[in-house]
Subunit: 381 residues, 2 copies
C-alpha cells in the first residue's frame, strides 16, 4: 500500500503486537513469565516462508523502520532509505520483520511496562538483558510468524551484534548475516562514553533511583545529556564540520559583547537532547547501554573469535564506514579476519563516507549499491 | 633548593601573589578595577633579564607547574616532566614564570573571588574572558617582574592558544613561541564536547544559575560529568585500551548475574570526576570553556591565518601528537602552513605517541629531546 507520492515507500504501516505466555529465562537467571513484542512487517511472506528478513535495531531504535503510520506522518521509519520496493532490502522480494526489542520503550515489554507481580511499572526492577536475550525473544517471534529460517538477519551497530549472536545461537535459522558498523565487543572508549551517559541519567535528581515513573517525574536533563554525548559519537569530526562549522545561531563573535553567543552545533545538540528526553525511557537507555557494554561475542568461546564463528554456518556480509570512530573499520576487519580464519563465507566492504557512525542510516550510493547487490543474490522461492 | 631525593626537581616552591590596582579593560568591554594573579617562579632571572620563560596553562591548569609545595606533597606540579634542572625548560638557564590565569580558581581573581562592589562572590557576574584578556594580564605581570621581553612563551592546548595570541598582540615582547597540541580555533566537535560539559554543570540543580556559593552548594554532579567528558577526549582510544581494556574492577562478566559489574574504566572516570568536582570552581570551568570556544586566532585578520601571523616576529616551535584527536596534528599543520606562508621561522614535529592529547604532559623521549634541543639554542646572556 504505497503512498501515491512515493512508489518506493512501503507506504502506510500498522504495528502489531505479539503476546508470549511461555516464560522466557534470561541470561541473568531471572524468568520473564509473559511479555509482548511490538513489530511491523513490510512485503509478503511467500508460501515457502523462505523470504523473511529480520531487522535488528540499534541503541535507541524501535520497530518502526520503514513507511509511515499515517498520511500526516512527517517522518518515515528510521531505515526507510534501505527498506522498500526496489530498495536494498527489497519488499517486492522479501518479507521484512522489524521489532522493538524486549526492554524497549516503544511498545514492547520493558521497564516502563507494568510488572504483573506488583501492578506498578517495572522501573529499575526490570531484569537486565543481554544481546542473547533479544535473540531468543526474536526466535520466539519467528516461531509465532511461522518462520523457521530467516533469509537474512540484518543489523547496524548494536543491531549488528544481535545479527552475529543469531549466527552463533541459531546457526540453522538464518542463511545470511549482515553486520553493519558493528564490533565484537566495545572498546574502553566506548565503555567510557556509555558510562558518562548513564552517570548523566543516574545523577539527575529526578531519576529517583530509577523510580521516576512512580514519583511522576522524568529525568529529562540527564537523558538529554546522555543523548548529546551519544550524538557526538555518532557523527564524524568532518561531518560536524561540514554540517555546522563554527556558524553562529545568534549574536556575534566580535571581541566585545557580554552575552554568550550560540554556535549552531550547540543549539542542535540541545534540540536533539531535549527531543530525545521527551520520547525515551531512562531505564531503557541504561538497560540497552549495559547490554552493549557486556556484549562480548567470543567470551564463552575461550575469547577466541575464530572458535566463536565456527559455530556459525550462514554467509556473512560485513560493512563499515571510513569515518566511523564509534565502531571504526578496524573493528569490522577483526570480524572479517575471524570469519576467514573460521573458513566462513564473508564479503566485506569499507565504505568511504563522511557521516561517521550515522552513515549506516544514510543513502550513500556505494553503500546502497553493495547492500542491494548482496541481497539480490539471496535465493528465495 | 632541590629536594635531596631528586636533583632534577626545582624542589620546594612557594606561590606568590601580584596585586594589580590599574584597571584592566576586558575584551567584553567591562573593566576589572583591581585583580590578583597567583604565580610561581623557577630558576633565576639573570641580570640582563633576557632568560625569562612564561608558561601558560590549559583548561583546568594552574600556577603550580613544577616542584612541590612541601616535603609531604605527594605530587609534583603538572609539568614537572618538562621544567627543572636539565629538563627541556632548564631552570639552570631559564627563569620560569607560571601563573594561574585571571578567572581561575586556584588563587587568581575569578568567579569565586569577592566582588568588591558587593562584598559577595562574583559567581556568574564575573566578566566573560577571552584569551587576549589573559595575554594582557600576563603582560602586566611581566611588567611587574621587570621582564620586557620573554625568551619564550610556551603553552600546550589552551596554553598554546595564549602563546600564539602573545605573538600577535605583543610581537616585540617574546623571542620564541612554543605551541604544543593546539589549534587556531575549535572544530565543531570540540565545541560540541564543551557544550555538553557546560550543560552538565548548568543543568545540575545545585548550580543555582551560578549562585551556588551564595546558596552554600556545589554542583558536584555536573562538574564531575563535565570532567568525565573532557577526560575521554584527552585520552586516545589506544591509550584507553592499553590502560583499561575491558578489565573488570569487580564482579564477573559471566552470562548470569543480576548485579551490574564494573569495568576499570568506569571507576577510573568516576574517580576523576569526583576528584575534580572537589577542587574546581564550576563558574571558572564555564568561563574557560567559553574562552576556548570563542578563540579564533585569525578572525580579526579577515579570517586569514597568514595575515594574522604576519603580525608576529618571533620564532615558532609547533609540536603535535599522532593520537591526539582533540587537537590532531592536522590542526598544528594548519598553523605551520600559515607561518610558512607568512615567511615566519618555524620548526615543526609530529610526535608518535599513544597517549592522545594528554601526551603533552608525558615524558615521551622524542618529545622531551626535541623540546630540550629547541630551547638549548635560545640565546640568553
Amino acid at each position: 500500500m504505497a503512498l501515491a507520492s512515493d512508489a518506493r515507500s512501503v507506504g502506510l504501516v500498522t504495528p502489531q503486537t505479539a503476546h508470549f505466555d511461555e516464560p522466557l529465562t534470561l541470561a541473568c537467571g531471572r524468568v520473564l513469565p509473559t511479555y509482548e513484542l511490538i513489530y511491523e512487517t513490510y512485503g509478503k511472506l511467500n508460501a515457502a516462508k523462505d523470504n523473511a528478513i529480520l531487522v535488528c535495531h540499534a541503541l535507541s531504535g524501535h520497530h518502526h523502520a520503514a513507511g509511515r503510520h499515517s498520511v500526516d506522518d512527517r517522518k518515515a521509519g528510521w531505515w526507510d532509505e534501505c527498506i522498500g520496493p526496489g530498495k536494498p532490502i527489497d519488499t517486492e522480494r522479501f518479507f521484512v520483520v522489524s521489532l522493538n526489542n524486549l526492554g524497549g520503550c516503544h511498545g514492547s515489554t520493558g521497564p516502563a511496562s507494568t510488572n504483573p507481580a506488583t501492578g506498578q511499572p517495572w522501573g529499575p526492577e526490570f531484569p537486565p538483558l543481554r544481546v542473547r536475550d533479544w535473540v531468543h525473544s526474536q526466535a520466539r517471534l519467528a516461531d509465532a510468524l511461522g518462520i523457521d529460517c530467516w533469509a537474512a538477519v540484518i543489523g547496524g551497530s548494536l543491531g549488528g551484534m544481535q545479527a552475529m549472536r543469531w549466527a552463533l545461537l541459531y546457526p540453522r535459522r538464518l542463511r545470511h548475516c549482515i553486520v553493519i558498523a558493528a564490533a565484537m565487543k566495545l572498546s574502553a572508549q566506548n565503555l567510557a562514553f556509555n558510562e558518562v551517559a548513564r552517570q548523566a541519567i543516574q545523577s539527575d535528581p529526578d531519576f529517583e533511583d530509577g523510580h521516576y515513573l512512580h514519583a511522576g517525574k522524568v529525568p529529562a536533563r540527564g537523558l538529554a545529556l546522555a543523548r548529546m554525548v551519544g550524538h557526538i559519537t555518532y557523527l564524524s569530526d568532518d561531518a560536524m564540520a561540514s554540517k555546522f562549522g563554527r556558524e553562529l545561531r545568534s549574536g556575534s563573535l566580535d571581541i566585545g559583547g557580554d552575552e554568550p553567543v550560540e554556535f549552531q552545533v550547540q543549539s542542535y545538540l540541545r534540540y536533539q537532547g531535549s527531543r530525545f528526553s521527551d520520547s525515551f525511557d531512562a531505564n531503557t537507555y541504561i538497560l540497552m547501554t549495559q547490554a552493549l557494554d557486556y556484549f562480548d561475542l567470543a567470551r564463552e568461546y575461550g575469547d577466541d573469535p575464530v572458535a566463536a564463528f565456527e559455530a556459525a554456518c550462514c554467509r556473512f556480509l560485513v560493512l563499515s564506514f571510513s569515518t566511523d570512530w564509534r565502531f571504526p573499520p578496524a573493528r569490522s576487519r577483526e570480524i572479517v579476519d575471524a570469519l576467514i580464519a573460521a573458513r566462513r563465507e564473508v564479503s566485506y566492504a569499507e565504505i568511504e563516507a563522511n557521516e561517521g557512525h550515522d552513515a549506516f542510516l544514510m543513502p550513500i550510493p556505494r553503500y546502497l549499491a553493495l547492500f542491494r547487490a548482496y541481497l539480490q543474490q539471496v535465493a528465495v522461492s
